[in-house]
């Protein structure tokens, strides 16, 4: 019994020590926030270490990464579809069809502070087409993983840094296509030039000098018919206000110049116009048209300013709720839907457009949303109707309603109904009215 006494004393001492240490430890226990910070720092350190290990394994080769996506559409209904050919272009007017809207393959390479990207696009919108969509070389001052570089200089063919929808990654957008105003002012989204971009904390910025003829433009896509460049920029913020709420907003601007094409010289021609509709050539109906010297091309100024914002909220049990919107005022910038040519029109053409969208994830497997967009290509248009000249609006708006089933955010099957209102038709009284343009489209999409 006595031989156990020291042990008992020792045991009691140990318990007392443990209790005191425990109390001390309790008094110095870190809170959850500091642990989370420590964890994030450790993760960042691990990521940097992984990156450095990878770079050391292949010191002579850049890291190469491939990505892409495919969007295959079935247009089930299109109000303007007709089994005829366009008399001007000879292209089919039928729009009720299957098509590959976008099939993209992007290769990105990074090596130390250098980077390059090359993106190919294939589609069958107007017949099978494969083209270079993006190709850029960049140098960056990195700020760390999952953060934009402090500064990055890019040269090549890249997305125009204006607003929200132009820069948005196509598979991320729930409506199948961009809004009318964005498609009209920035067709094709990609342009050639040089850009400085980056971010610091929530601040984001981009400034670019571009050719001003985007890839989807109707005049000189991918070329630059005048020496002056378009200057485009965006400054904004992108921040998580609280962990479940993210706000991104910005102001964009563009200033540049477009080109009114001149006309080539013409030769003398003899014409016959059957003025009295009798089918017989008479001397008074024959007209000699003297040839004309070429008319020169002329540059004109164009500009735009835009505001954009999006708010994302992680709704518990449901998923992300996103509200987004953008408004753009522009002058002489329409390059697709109603190409602006102030020299031909004799006045500036003022464009205005906006959109507002909302989408909600319904668990991981579904997403619904709608977007309303409005675009007026010419705020000052007018026409002769009856005895007087009346204002004419060519404005159009579209309400897009979308429902999608998704799997692992990789595959998505969407169905969208677009209800379009425009001023392209005429009533019995000659007033502008909507010309049927409603569409119902199903899209299958996979990102890889």
């Amino acid at each position: 019994m006595a031989r156990y006494l020291p042990s008992r004393k020792a045991g009691l001492g140990l318990v007392a020590t443990l209790l005191s240490v425990g109390q001390l430890a309790q008094a110095q226990a870190p809170d959850a926030a500091s642990l989370a910070r420590e964890l994030a720092a450790l993760r960042a350190e691990v990521a940097e270490l992984k990156q450095s290990v990878l770079e050391r394994r292949s010191p002579q080769l850049p890291n190469l990464r491939f990505s892409g996506f495919v969007q295959a559409d079935a247009v089930l209904r299109h109000a303007a579809s007709e089994d005829q050919l366009d008399q001007g272009t000879g292209m089919p007017l039928n729009e009720t069809r299957f098509l590959i809207r976008r099939a993209r393959l992007r290769a990105e390479a990074t090596y130390a502070f250098l980077g390059a990207a090359f993106e190919l696009d294939g589609n069958t919108t107007s017949g099978p087409v494969a083209r270079i969509l993006g190709a850029e070389v960049s140098a960056r001052l990195a700020a760390g993983p999952d953060r934009p570089p402090y500064i990055m200089a890019t040269v090549g063919l890249f997305k125009i840094p204006f607003g929200r929808e132009v820069l948005q990654y196509d598979p991320d957008r729930l409506p199948l296509e961009r809004s009318s105003v964005v498609r009209a002012l920035f067709p094709g989204e990609f342009d050639l030039g040089v850009q400085l971009s980056g971010g610091w904390r929530p601040l984001r910025y981009a400034l670019a000098a571009l050719n001003g003829e985007p890839a989807g433009e109707v005049g000189f896509p991918g070329r630059d018919p005048n020496a002056s460049k378009d200057f485009v920029g965006r400054i904004g913020v992108d921040s998580r206000i609280v962990p479940a709420l993210r706000l991104a907003a910005g102001v964009s601007g563009l200033y540049g110049s477009g080109l009114h094409p001149g006309a080539p010289a013409t030769k003398d021609v003899l014409t016959w116009r059957d003025d009295n509709d009798d089918g017989v050539v008479q001397p008074s109906e024959i007209q000699a048209l003297a040839g004309s010297a070429a008319t020169p091309s002329q540059s004109f100024a164009r500009s735009a300013i835009g505001l954009d914002a999006s708010l994302s909220w992680e709704v518990p049990r449901l998923g992300t709720l996103e509200l987004c919107g953008e408004v753009i005022w522009a002058v002489n910038l329409d390059r697709l839907l109603w190409p602006a040519d102030p020299v031909a029109a004799g006045r500036d053409l003022r464009e205005f457009g906006w959109y507002l969208g909302v989408s909600q994830e319904l668990t991981r497997y579904a997403r619904i949303g709608l977007r309303y967009d409005f675009y007026d290509p010419d705020a000052d248009d007018s026409e002769q109707r009856g005895g007087g000249r009346v204002p004419l609006s060519r404005a159009a708006d579209t309400l897009a309603v979308v429902a999608a089933a998704q799997y692992a955010r990789v595959g998505r099957l969407s169905i969208e109904y677009d209800h379009n209102r425009n001023a392209l038709g005429r009533t019995s009284g000659g007033a502008p009215t909507t010309l049927g343009r409603d569409t119902l489209t199903v899209r299958a999409q996979m990102v890889f």
Partner: protein
């Protein structure tokens, strides 16, 4: 009941867009450049404005004719004119223009009419109605148009070749005397031997080719050739051939041959020209035999 109907109408509007028809109107017999096509016949309203005057230069039009001018004056308050060719698929809305100086209160309209190549010959009424800002169409003013067959000459015997696609096809007809009428010999008249006085009537009696369409791939859009005899044609056998001179980058061309004697259809043939049809020489005896005809 009315409420349900209204809801159904609203739903239909949402689905259809409550919109003007976006069809081009190409299948219509009458087409109006720059105007809105509306399927169906225009309906007149008793309160609609009237057409004050209508001006069509000629009361006839040929099938396939392009750009026939029409103009008119509308009653005060009219903002548009509806044009309808009776029996057609739909009508066309033309926006009214400014008044003429002679009638400063009356709006006018002007349009350019195109007629379908498939428009059957015969009389057909063209109706014009004025429309106002309330979309009411007034009473119709009409003009009867004599629709003439397309590019078909009158004659005792007419052999016609017509084809689809802009290729260069040639009509060859060998008459009973052995003379071949074609693009290099446009008349069946043969000059008499030296020393014999020419017969002025023989020139008139001979068959002739009216036009060498799409010659050497200079596209004229006509795609029709006729060989015809205005006087009684000689008795005997006639051989009709179709020579495919060039497909002018088209993949194929579909052709039809019609033979009319005294206005009555007496023969018909059709065929297809492919790349192999252009081979060989393109002399008077070239081409495929489309038709053989014996005349008493």
């Amino acid at each position: 009941m009315w409420g349900r109907l209204r809801h159904l109408t609203l739903l239909g509007c949402l689905l259809s867009g409550c919109a003007a028809d976006s069809q081009t109107g190409l299948p219509a017999l009458l087409r109006v450049v720059g105007a809105q096509f509306v399927p169906g016949e225009p309906v007149a309203s008793p309160d609609g404005p009237a057409v004050v005057g209508l001006s069509v230069l000629q009361n006839s039009a040929a099938a396939g004719e392009l750009g026939k001018p029409i103009a008119g004056t509308l009653a005060e308050g009219a903002t548009a004119a509806a044009l309808f060719l009776e029996g057609d698929l739909g009508h066309w809305i033309v926006v009214a223009g400014p008044p003429d100086v002679t009638a400063p209160r009356l709006p006018t309209f002007a349009a350019s009419l195109d007629f379908s190549p498939s428009l059957p010959a015969g009389d057909r009424r063209l109706r014009v109605q004025a429309g106002d800002a309330q979309d009411r169409l007034g009473p119709a003013a009409s003009q009867t148009l004599a629709i003439l067959p397309r590019d078909q000459p009158a004659g005792q015997l007419v052999v016609s070749l017509a084809w689809e696609r802009e290729a260069d096809l040639d009509l060859h007809v060998e008459d009973p005397t052995g003379v071949v009428i074609w693009s290099r010999q446009k008349s069946g008249y043969t000059a008499p031997p030296p020393g014999t006085p020419p017969d002025p009537e023989a020139v008139k009696r001979a068959g002739r080719l009216d036009f060498d369409s799409n010659a050497a791939c200079v596209i004229d859009g006509r795609r029709r050739e006729n060989i015809y005899w205005t006087a009684a044609p000689p008795s005997g056998r006639y051989r009709v051939r179709v020579d495919t001179f060039s497909l002018c980058r088209e993949a194929a061309a579909y052709w039809t041959v019609e033979v009319r004697a005294a206005g009555q259809l007496v023969g018909h043939a059709s065929g297809q020209s492919g790349p192999e049809s252009t081979r060989g020489t393109h002399g008077p005896d070239a081409g495929v035999l489309a038709f053989e005809l014996g005349l008493p």
